[in-house]
Symmetry: C5
Amino acid sequence: MIPDADEAITRDGKALILAYDHGIEHGPVDFEPNPETADPERVFDLATHDAVTALAVGKGVAEAYYPSYDDDVSLLAKLNGTSNLWMGEPDSAVNWSVEYAAELGADAIGFTLYGGSNNEVEMAEEFRDAQEAAREHDMGVVMWSYPRGQGLKNDTSPGTIAYATRLGLELGADIAKVKYPGSPEAMAEAARMAGPAKVVMSGGSKADDRAFLETVASAIEGGANGLAVGRNVFQRENPVEILDALEAVIFEEASVEEALEHTSTPAVADD
Amino acid sequence: MIPDADEAITRDGKALILAYDHGIEHGPVDFEPNPETADPERVFDLATHDAVTALAVGKGVAEAYYPSYDDDVSLLAKLNGTSNLWMGEPDSAVNWSVEYAAELGADAIGFTLYGGSNNEVEMAEEFRDAQEAAREHDMGVVMWSYPRGQGLKNDTSPGTIAYATRLGLELGADIAKVKYPGSPEAMAEAARMAGPAKVVMSGGSKADDRAFLETVASAIEGGANGLAVGRNVFQRENPVEILDALEAVIFEEASVEEALEHTSTPAVADD
Amino acid sequence: MIPDADEAITRDGKALILAYDHGIEHGPVDFEPNPETADPERVFDLATHDAVTALAVGKGVAEAYYPSYDDDVSLLAKLNGTSNLWMGEPDSAVNWSVEYAAELGADAIGFTLYGGSNNEVEMAEEFRDAQEAAREHDMGVVMWSYPRGQGLKNDTSPGTIAYATRLGLELGADIAKVKYPGSPEAMAEAARMAGPAKVVMSGGSKADDRAFLETVASAIEGGANGLAVGRNVFQRENPVEILDALEAVIFEEASVEEALEHTSTPAVADD
Amino acid sequence: MIPDADEAITRDGKALILAYDHGIEHGPVDFEPNPETADPERVFDLATHDAVTALAVGKGVAEAYYPSYDDDVSLLAKLNGTSNLWMGEPDSAVNWSVEYAAELGADAIGFTLYGGSNNEVEMAEEFRDAQEAAREHDMGVVMWSYPRGQGLKNDTSPGTIAYATRLGLELGADIAKVKYPGSPEAMAEAARMAGPAKVVMSGGSKADDRAFLETVASAIEGGANGLAVGRNVFQRENPVEILDALEAVIFEEASVEEALEHTSTPAVADD
Amino acid sequence: MIPDADEAITRDGKALILAYDHGIEHGPVDFEPNPETADPERVFDLATHDAVTALAVGKGVAEAYYPSYDDDVSLLAKLNGTSNLWMGEPDSAVNWSVEYAAELGADAIGFTLYGGSNNEVEMAEEFRDAQEAAREHDMGVVMWSYPRGQGLKNDTSPGTIAYATRLGLELGADIAKVKYPGSPEAMAEAARMAGPAKVVMSGGSKADDRAFLETVASAIEGGANGLAVGRNVFQRENPVEILDALEAVIFEEASVEEALEHTSTPAVADD
């Protein structure tokens, strides 16, 4: 973790990362709720929203679209990933070199580590190479820190998530992306374990506006520095609205009720 | 995927790839229907047909023949491949380096990925190296995207093929070569998932003229950008006729009936 | 082992290494007894204590804090380590290259070897690369020599610990860090087997002041050249007191009773 | 396969390779029939016979003797090989780099591929590196193409040998060395599958003069471009005689009866 | 094998290698019979004895002591080795690079190959790299050729030892170090199989003066070029005496009786 190494993908120390690596990790099924989102251009357009501090995509998508958006979007190069056709112990192929990511203009790299997997040692060493190469190119480093594999029954327990953020700090990430550990208190503890590294909550599968914003707000309240979100934005009918609402919660200290005014979900009547 | 990276192996955005890697993948048995096709020279001659936008061969064949054909044929260097003597989990040896392919004058590289194989992660990382080296040499990239291995019962289901084309886009291919998913609608969905990357249908084992052309036409109708074909050309008695017919279907928007006029198969009488 | 190669992390030939790699090796649970110690800054502050000859931390923590402490703290870059989420045969990922450690100003490297693990051969070869790279940068080399794995029932037996220190000498460490083998005599034998290489005792889990200092004193008496300690310092309410006491025992030839005067534990009344 | 790349180890397009890698592959047992042949010097002397177009040996033997014979013998550097103490799935260690072979003056490289072995993919990739390095040094490439391993019940069936020669062509060998497939017709088919690459028959274990020469003659008749022979030469009492006879059969279109006149085996009386 | 490549570690074509890698291979237990021998300095002093043509040690010991002895001792850098804590299939970690050995002034490298182990292929390839690097630095190459592993019931049978010396020659060693095959005749056959490469007998576990010298004398009589000895020298009360005796047997063609006069063991009375 190097202070300010992530400044190209944060704003006032906070991050709203739009993640769009579902085409590789989950496949076309994630585009079914809103079929037009299979078109990367629509997501690049969303990434120009003021709220979005970085867009996380894979190499092929970046090659095709980023040259047209490099003035308006900060690129978080998601280096590794594997299809869910993979039946083996959790693992992730390194699909993109740091050097080529830098050449394409990436501002930061993203890298998954499955702590606890039988592939943890190998993945950690791949992360080492990527992290140190990123330093040579002055790029920030985001770790998708997802404990997973044999022996991990509940990978969102407070202790597991706190360990996950700590691994981010110890191994050299500037930002650790983790799942929500279930409560603001647990998120606070996870954030504390990351020390000076930032922590962003992973958006997860789609929830309704209120439930989603309440989780985000409680994470921020707990000390998270932001959100990495994919399906909860692009699977919605009006993704711009939810980005407006997220901007309010994350960057403007708005309450969930205030934020909901940006959406078509009615705020709870004051009575 | 880089726009126009494949222009040396396409014509008006469409591709007819003559594939001739059967000597390694299947062995001499594929030459039995038409024994003279064991001679690579005959296939190189076919590749000079106007319809053919690229010829896909292995290193040893390219070394021997390409120097005599480099003015008339675009070379698609098929980098990996494995004999069917192999009894292990689906895998493919990288038999040819990108650097040497470039030295021999290749216009593009071809690379097989068996998504879902226990070797998927390793193959994806080999693809990464090849893809990025191809970019340095301004060569296009074609992925033979063939999900295969444990857990994949039907590797031509619409969902699998759509995932296969998407992997092509995400991982940096300019063209994804996939099996026909059974219907024009499924092919259309697969093409849509590839976004700006092109999709070519794999020709598969030999069918009669009409059946073959109808499948090709329906794939094109569905949005495929062309065809990669081997046995359905070189196993025929008159491969030039079928190339004429394919040219009509792929590049000239001809109907199957019109295309059949190029062949010895009688078109259906108009009654 | 090169004479004086460790001089930047020793004082008068003795060492008191403050180890703080628990965040990766054990996770947040080690910070629970004294939650503020999750903050690396507190431990860096402790490392400025005169008694401390080096601070052992991982890459990410060094990146964040060492630039502010490089005048006052000697950095022992702990290159490898693995979370305890790992369920496989004992192994340790190399998370930090020697080159990058040198760039950050490290004075020495630390490296774990699990002799007897099924990963011993691979770890020894990784150690080779790190050790030789350290020589190029004039950095000292400390081996965490921890026999562990199948076939090792008691990894602190005198014979095992003597073998562990000898491996340190044979493979090129300047200092071998080993567990206490149970008696001053066994420690003396272990120190003798290390020849000119130094031996430091590993502090282990927290003990009360007297018991801890007596073990340290008996190790020093047995010929150990010092101590590597983490939890027995930072998990205490007053870590400075125990550092004062350790300084007395290790560097000033004080008795345990004399040393205990630095702590809140009453020395035994003279009667 | 590059035309003329093998010219340093062929004569008029034909090859008689004296193979002497038995010391590694089989061990001293192969020298028992004629104990003096354990001395490499005797075999180097045989290799100066006009009939011999190349001598295939391992690195250590080449280091010791080739400097004295480089004017009179063409060196075929057999790069890989493994002792028969090996009990694992068929595999072959790469014992010699192409660069060092070139430095010692080698004219060509020899490389074993066990198609169908669980190590086929790895061996093919090692072959790739060796083949491409050989091209940089303008050395010819000979593949010992020996399908072997799980699933291959009869590794000399016509189909297997035809596949073996084809793999030689496809992967970039100039000459494929294969076992005799049982008939001139099968050898003809195997030669046809190699296209412009040459095919040499592997001599195998010792047979009597007539039987051996008849097999060689039928292989040549079938289209083989020559022979790679070890035991059938050096295990004989008079190896020069059999080389004379082989020269007649391979290069001078002599009949077996004519060739036998070079040996002590009486030709069949004309009656 | 390159003629004279071993001249820095031989004398008149013969070798007496003092081996001192027991600290890694066997651990402290080998120093128990003569505890002072745990101190490498004592063994370096022994190595200055005129009889000793080279001292074989590991990297760490060489780093610490060789700079003080480089005028008087020839250094044989034992590159690989593994502790006997290792429970896996026979294997040996490469603990020392050739480049660093050269930098420390080594005259030759030593490398173990376990022919027949499941790790034979990997070890042979590691040997290749080390052997070729040694050539670049004009260093001799000694192979500890020790068939071992599954399928090898008796690793000192005449056939196994003859195969072991042959592997030394074939793979590029200048000297093969093997166990005594039980008789002078078997040693003669093993020496013959090594061709121009030298063969030294491995000293093995400690025997009494007469028995040990008789074995050495019979090996020399059988054609061995010398001895590599550790425990039979340094575990004795008076190691200088036995070195005097060995010098007589190996270099001065003395009988065992004559040699015994150098020791405290009475020679057999002449009656």
